[in-house]
Every structure is written in C-alpha cells, then in structure tokens.
C-alpha cells in the first residue's frame, strides 16, 4: 500500500473574517509516514489540524483524509483518526480508565473488544497501575500520555498530534518522543504539528514548514537542511555593530545568513573554500532552515 496518501490537501483556504489563517495549502501525508507540520505561532498549524477533523470548514480547496472527501465524508474519516489536541480536554473528575472507556464508546470499539482496547491503551500510556487515579491527580506528563493513548484506543490508521509536547519538561518531552517513535515504528501514520524544531527533526520522516498559512518548504529534514542551509555554518559573535557588519559582508559574498539573537550564522560555508568568515564552525540544522524561511522577526 506504499505511496497511498493518508492526507491530501490541495489549495486549501480558511479565512476568519479579515484574517486568512490557511492560504492555499497543499499537503501530502503518505501512509505509514510521520509528517511534521512546523511553523511559528500563527502560521496556521492548528487551523490545519481542525480542518482535518471538519471542526473548521475550508472556504476553498480540496481535502481528503484516508480517501474520504471533507467535509462531506468527514464522519467516516474521523472514525479512523485519533486526535490528541493541543489543549488537554480530558474529563478530570473521571479516572484514567473511565476516560479510556468513554472514548472506546465514542470511537465505536465493539463491545467484545473494549476491555482489551483499554488495557492496550493503558499500556501505551504506561499508566497501568494508575488506572483508578482521577485525572486531576496525574502529573502533566501522565496527562499528555493519556491524551495520546486516548486517541489510540480504536487503533486509528491516522494519528493527528497537535503540539504533543508543548509546555512540558525536557525529560517528559523525551518520554513522549519515545512513545511517538514507537507508534511510528509500528506503522501508524502520524501528522504532528509542532513549533519545536528538534521534535520535528527527530521524529518526522518529512517536514512541511508553514508560514502565513502556506507551505514554504517540504521534504525530509536532511534534504531541507542540505538544500537551504548547506552542510556547515559559521557562528560570528560580537557586539551588535560587528554582527551587522559580518552579516553584510557574508551576504555580499553570496552566503545566506540568519541571526540567532547573540550571533550571526553564516550558512552553507562547506563549499566556500576559504572565503568563509572567521568564527565557530558547526553543522547546519533544521532551525537554520526554519528561521531562514519563516522570517527572522515575528510579525
């Protein structure tokens, strides 16, 4: 079934009054892959996620999820999707197990399979011995794991993760990465929005960078980095005047640059044979591409 698309968007536009949140977006997610939707706040990631469950209706464009056309066949599509939202919406006065039971019903897990589905989800969330705890007694990390496990209770073909690790400690984030990586290895198709670049770089087979509601680049992280930022960069440090100077010089020499706040990164110096400015050499990364393509300043 390789090559079949789990998600296919063409020219999708979504406006909220005068604001165009999604502006002609094309997006392909092949079955069995993990795609990261990367972009600064306000780029249209969350709106895109809502469009995929028909909780927002597009003004223009074509949307297909698992072969179902939206919004008309959205209910069918949703039956095979799991959604982990950015904002925790667990039932906090219920226990872990009760939350999973409710979703086993909402996602129509047949009666005879419910018990097993809940046990499996408890295992995924690593909350087997907390099954009887009320959700408001759980830590932030546990709640996140439960939120993801809740989305998996019916063995969906497509998992939508909206900012799965936002606001969590680094340790907890790594724990969730391990979980997502496991799901990926099992062949679940995943679309994950994030504004953590490291997250996308580690987990995604392919990344789509969004800015102002449209895709500005798409491809495997390694390819994107190679294409837009080369292999190596040089960090030039100094007072603001020195940075501006270094930036101007590098640009005049035909290099792409980006500011990091405390330094200027001169990108793609691997082919520069001696013309590169003096400074600290480092490998390029997805963040370089991200800043390059989505603009230095937040507007």
């Amino acid at each position: 079934m390789g090559g079949q698309l789990a998600i296919r968007l063409r020219g999708v536009v979504k406006r909220y009054g005068p604001i165009t949140a999604v502006n002609g977006l094309d997006l392909d997610v092949a079955e069995g892959t993990c795609v990261g939707l990367l972009g600064p706040n306000g780029a249209g990631k969350s709106t895109t996620m809502r469009l995929l469950t028909a909780q927002a209706i597009a003004d223009e464009g074509e949307l297909e999820v698992l072969g179902f056309r939206l919004p008309g066949e959205s209910k069918q599509a949703r039956a095979h999707c799991g959604v982990s939202p950015q904002l925790d919406n667990l039932d906090v006065t219920l226990t872990v197990e009760q939350n999973l039971l409710v979703f086993a019903h909402l996602y129509r897990v047949p009666r005879g399979e419910r018990r097993e589905a809940i046990e499996r989800a408890l295992g995924i969330a690593n909350l087997v011995d907390r099954r009887d705890s009320r959700v408001d007694k759980l830590s932030g990390g546990m709640r996140r794991r439960l939120l993801i496990a809740r989305a998996l209770v019916h063995r969906p073909r497509l998992l939508l993760l909206d900012e799965p690790t936002v606001g969590l400690d680094p340790q907890v984030r790594q724990e969730l990465w391990a979980l997502i990586d496991l799901l990926r290895a099992e062949g679940t198709t995943i679309l994950m929005s994030t504004h953590y670049i490291e997250e996308a770089q580690r987990l995604a087979d392919s990344v789509l960078i969004m800015s102002h509601g449209r895709a500005v680049a798409a491809g495997p992280p390694v390819d994107l980095v190679a294409r837009h930022a080369g292999r190596e960069a040089v960090e030039v440090y100094g007072p603001p005047e020195r940075l501006a100077e270094a930036e101007a010089e590098a640009r005049a020499a035909g290099f792409r640059t980006r500011r990091t706040g405390t330094s200027v990164s001169v990108l793609g110096i691997d082919a520069a044979d001696g013309r590169a400015p003096q400074g600290e050499r480092r490998p390029t990364n997805l963040e370089d591409v991200f800043v390059l393509l989505t603009g230095e300043a937040i507007d």
Binding site: M1, K14, Y16, T47, R50, T53, A54, Q55, A56, I57, L66, G67, F68, E73, K75, Q76, R78, A79, H80, C81, V83, P85, L87, D88, N89, D91, V92, T93, L94, Q98, L101, V102, F103, H105, L106, Y107, R108, R157
Partner: protein
C-alpha cells in the same frame, strides 16, 4: 482493503453509536456528581412546595376544590423539570465547550454537532423526567392521593425537559459569556416560572397574562401533571402534549444551529 470495505457502509446523519457514546460519557460523569445534581434539582422545588404549601396554605386552604398543598405539589413538578433541565443545560454546556473543551474532543470523534446536542438533551430530559417526580412524591407524603395517571408524569417531565434542555443549550450556544445568562434567567425563565399556574391559577389573571400563560410551555407541563394526578384529563391535554412537542422540536433545531455555529468554525 480496509478502506474499500468501509466505503460501502456510509455513515448516516444520525447514528445510534454516536448518541450512545455521548450518553455513556454523561452517565459515567454523573457517577461523580450525582449527589450535588440530585440535591439542587430536588431540594429547591421541595422548598418551594413546603414554603408555599404551608405558608400560603394557611391563608388559602383550597383552590378549585383541591387542597393547596396538593395544588402546589403537582405544580412544582414543572419547577423541578425546569431546574433539572434548563439550568444544567445552560451552565453545563457553556462549561463543557468553553472551559473543559469536552466538545472539541467529542467532535473529533465520529460524532456530529447535531448528534452531540441531541444526546445531551436526551440525557437531561431523562433526568428531568425522574427529578420531576420528587415534588409529587413529597406531596403524596403530605396527603396527596396516588393515582394511576401519575405514571404519565415522568413522560411529561421527559418531554418538557427535552425542550427546556434544548432551550438551555441554545442559550449557551448564543451566549458570549456566562454573565449573559442572567438576562435569560431574569427576563425569560423567572416570568415563565411565575406565570405557569404553579402557585396560583391563571384564570383570575388579566387576559393578556392568560394568553401569555397559554404559550408558556411550563404551563402546559403544570396542567398535564395536574390532570394526570387529579384525573381531570380531557382532549385539551392532547393539544398540550402537541404544544410541548412543537416547543421541543423548535428549540432542538435552534440549539443545533447555535452549537454548530459555536463549535465548527
């Protein structure tokens, strides 16, 4: 493969599994708050019953040939129905979409806004049907004679409760903030609650108030319960049932419209 099979069975606009999914959530949640819900839905109307029944009852001993406690005891069934449907619907709906974001989670599942609203209203209607009986049971304890007709009271409570639950959901759907509810409570619910024939008969009121009473769904509920309890039913009651059905269907559609607008961008 799996996709091809699935495509054969198109999902309908109303699906029983979607309704039961939402209902299961409510029933499980109810296990964590049934005490407070039961308390507010039953104690308050009972206090009205006792206060008016014995307060006014000492001045007015009978109304239309009935003991005043019996008159109020049957009337406050409608009060209990209102308190256990419209109010939880307004506040509960608002909390669930605004603060708990429960409805976002439900609509991401194979449940549409129409099914969500319907299931929520059915649940509150069922509660209203049960809680509505409490004042009548209290009145029986104070001497109201049981009658077979009283078995229809839960059904009347369910029907009226469905309408009032949808009314509450619609109000929550249109409200910009939870403070907006005070307008509805003061300007709509309180007058309707007083001009329903619960505490005094409407036939001595000025003509305009009587007309108002006849378009008040709560009044139909009061009359249906009284006719069932006192055995005074007539063909007019069929018209009252019809009025409650019209009310329920109309506000049901309005509630779906309001919530779809609220939940789907």
């Amino acid at each position: 493969m799996a996709a091809a099979v699935e495509r054969v069975r198109r999902l309908h606009r109303f699906e029983l599994p979607a309704l039961t999914g939402v209902l299961v959530r409510e029933v499980i949640n109810y296990s964590s708050y049934w005490r407070s819900a039961t308390f507010s839905s039953t104690v308050e109307p009972t206090i009205y019953l006792l206060a008016f029944g014995f307060g006014f009852g000492s001045l007015v001993s009978t109304i239309g040939g009935y003991d005043y406690v019996e008159f109020v005891g049957t009337g406050t069934v409608a009060t209990a129905v209102l308190f256990s449907s419209a109010f939880p619907a307004m506040f509960g709906t608002f909390v669930k979409y605004q603060f708990q974001r429960t409805y976002d989670a439900i609509l991401a599942a194979p449940v549409d806004a129409e099914e969500l609203v319907t299931a929520e209203a059915l649940w509150m209607a069922a509660r209203a049907g049960v809680y509505g009986c409490v004042p009548m049971l209290v009145a029986i304890a104070f001497g109201l004679d049981p009658a077979w007709g009283m078995l229809t009271v839960p059904l009347t409570g369910f029907l009226a409760g469905y309408g009032w639950a949808c009314f509450g959901i619609a109000v929550a759907g249109f409200a910009k903030s939870i403070e907006n509810f005070s307008y509805i409570v003061s300007a709509v619910l309180t007058p309707l609650f007083l001009v329903a024939g619960t505490f005094f008969p409407l036939d001595r009121l000025p003509h305009w108030a009587q007309v108002l009473g006849e378009i008040n769904p709560l009044h139909h509920c009061v009359q249906l319960v009284r006719d069932a309890a006192f055995g005074t039913g007539s063909w007019i009651d069929l018209a009252r049932v019809g009025a409650l059905v019209v009310f329920a269907v109309a506000v049901w559609r309005v509630a779906i419209y309001a919530m779809t607008r609220k939940l789907v961008d």
